[in-house]
Symmetry: C2
Subunit: 395 residues, 2 copies
């Protein structure tokens, strides 16, 4: 058996990984806005990207490499997404890398961007900023702040995986994301670093297995961005590897990052797990759970701490899945409020359900009663703060 133990610290604790973040002049408030991850030996790299048809320039740049390649450098900026910038957006990335003082050290350097769509990169600032990097720095903290946009807090995690053969590897992540996160990945960046000796094909497979129940199961507002990226970098330094342990450890890291993002949904105060049980098909379970996590009327009811189960039912009906109100059971945690056509919502039950909604996190369970397929989607409430943040995000 293997064990996956959380440890204190940032990705800089992983052997061979260096990182830092600085203020390069993009954020007017002086906060960090440019960071990097550097490894002294080239890494296997695998990534999954947004399903938005307008992929941002950094994604096009990544995909211009051949299927399997190695890299030792990822440059990450916030405040400008380098999206909708056409061919020039990709040219800008190449110009940037060829202007760096330390360009001779770089193997297939990559870039990742987040921020406002539809502006060219401020190349001068980025080049000057990057040329001030210390490639031997170990500050995951500075990096985690550099990639933030509307995030209320930085998002990182770190684990040690001990294998049966006595060997061990580390795996950790730094991520940003709050708002625009939706069932199909949206403005979120997540960089996962490991010293496991994982082959490229296993990295790709593990990413695809784990994305459905983690990043694709969270929703803040149902929009998908042009830039979303989950990237795994593996330098193999630990010489340790076990496929099952790697898949499971990656799942733990991805799930933790996804939960941190949904809890940081712009202005959100509550995390709700929408568990759809016993749907006729897996597709139905996923559709209904995601519809619930995306519904504005459900989200505002959670904000108001109102056990308005009518909106829950209505959203399930509107999702067009096979359903029948004579079979449907709705509960808030273990408080049943609707049971197969019967409304169970006396004063006492209403008070109990309201109490559940006053908590910071809870489950809303919808038993469809037509099959045996289930799915859990995660969402948050939506309040005044969301409007405040998004009415003037550009400024």
């Amino acid at each position: 058996m293997f064990t996956i133990l959380p440890i204190q610290g940032y990705i800089d604790q992983i052997d061979g990984f260096f990182c830092d973040g600085i203020h390069a002049g993009l954020k007017p408030n002086g906060n960090n806005d440019l960071g990097f991850i550097y490894t002294n030996e080239p890494c296997n790299v695998a990534a999954i990207f947004t399903e938005n048809r307008f992929q941002a320039a950094p994604l096009k740049h990544f995909l211009s490499h051949k299927e399997e390649f190695k890299t030792n450098f990822v440059l990450i900026n916030s405040k400008n997404a380098n999206a909708l910038t056409g061919k020039k957006g990709v040219e800008d990335i190449n110009t940037l890398f060829s202007s760096l003082d330390f360009k001779e050290k770089l193997v297939n350097p990559l870039m990742s961007s987040t921020g406002v769509i539809g502006n060219r990169l401020p190349l001068e600032k980025l080049i000057a900023g990057a040329n001030s990097f210390d490639l031997s720095a170990k500050s995951g903290e500075n990096l985690s702040k550099a990639i933030m946009t509307t995030d209320a807090y930085p998002k990182t995690s770190l684990y040690e995986v001990k294998l049966e053969d006595g060997k061990s590897f580390k795996i950790g992540a730094v991520a940003k994301g709050a708002g625009m996160i939706n069932p199909n990945l949206a403005t979120m960046l997540c960089f996962i670093c490991t010293d496991a000796a994982v082959p490229y094909s296993d990295m790709k497979e593990a990413l695809n297995i784990n994305k459905e129940t983690t990043f694709n199961a969270i929703s803040v507002d149902g929009d998908t961005s042009t830039n979303d990226t989950v990237m795994v970098l593996a330098n193999g330094k630990s010489k340790a590897y076990d496929k099952d342990a790697f898949i499971e450890a990656l799942r733990v890291v991805m799930h933790e990052m996804a939960m941190l993002m949904v809890a940081d949904g712009e202005g959100a105060k509550k995390v709700a797990a929408f568990e759809v049980r016993n749907a006729a098909t897996k597709e139905d379970a996923i559709k209904a759970a995601k519809a619930l996590s995306n519904s504005l009327l459900v989200k505002t009811a959670l904000f108001g701490e109102d056990p308005n189960f009518g909106r829950i039912a209505s959203t399930i009906g509107a999702s067009q899945i096979a359903c029948d109100d004579e079979k449907l059971v709705i509960s808030y945690n273990d408080i049943v409020v609707f049971d197969k056509g019967e409304i169970c919502f006396d004063k006492e039950t209403e008070e109990k359900a309201s109490k559940v909604l006053k908590q910071n996190s809870y489950k809303i369970i919808c038993d469809i009663g037509l099959g045996n397929c289930s799915f859990v989607a995660y969402g948050c409430d939506l309040g005044y703060k969301y409007v405040e943040i998004n009415a003037d995000y550009r400024s």
Copy 2:
């Protein structure tokens, strides 16, 4: 040729139609909450309903009639949707009608409800209220107020259609709807009355033709309700009829009602027409236009009067239609901000675009440049008021 002229007044001006609204004790603030439409001769009736899988009891009750039937009475209440009430919800409607003092006068009486989902109808209040009706009343104004829920204002219209043969008929509507209105009809009720001598099959055909570009093209928050109904009642009293004129007049009425609803999106101050041009297929045009009108990030940008065209482009990309940023053109009215891969957003253009967004209504045009299919969807902005209204709608 025929002409369609707006006239002052309510549906009570149409020959043979009677209506009123009263306070029956459902709304705590004493406002009207129960109304009726009565005709002294039975009407042809056709209706289209919500696509929500959990149809409310009044819809099930309507559909329990045979395909083509006549009615002379529609009872409408607000504050309680009679939805998710199972078989008892339909039984309650039958109990109600059989308890009315004037039940002998009624031919296939119908009911329509709007309000909170998941509560049984307060039968005693409704019966007492209905028994106080004066069936010879002519107060469209009282009725229009009785059916309101979160509406900021009543919604009515009235037209006279003059035909080539010198005959004429009237057509008018009373409607409610604000919030939860989405591309596939959602909590909106619309009752269209006419004295045209229109056959049932033409009514049904005209409703289906016109719904796509009217009620199905508007969006407030992307949710669909359990109760949405558009009902046409025709008593034939004018003895006038022309199929083309009727279809066109019905379109005018449905479009006007749809626009009044979107302008009354809970807390909305702006109406935006999202015109998607030159998409590869009709499906793509509809998909992209509706995605724009539903996007929270687009809606909050409109609220902030921010010409954030990056969010427009991102939403089109996220809608999964065929698109290419080298072909895409985005404009606010006639102000082009993105032109086939080129960002045209200098200070002057930004100021012009901002000016457009300060207006109460405007067009956002996205030319996909891949075909010749177009669609216009209508949406509104989303601000603090929406959250306020929906965080505690039940109370």
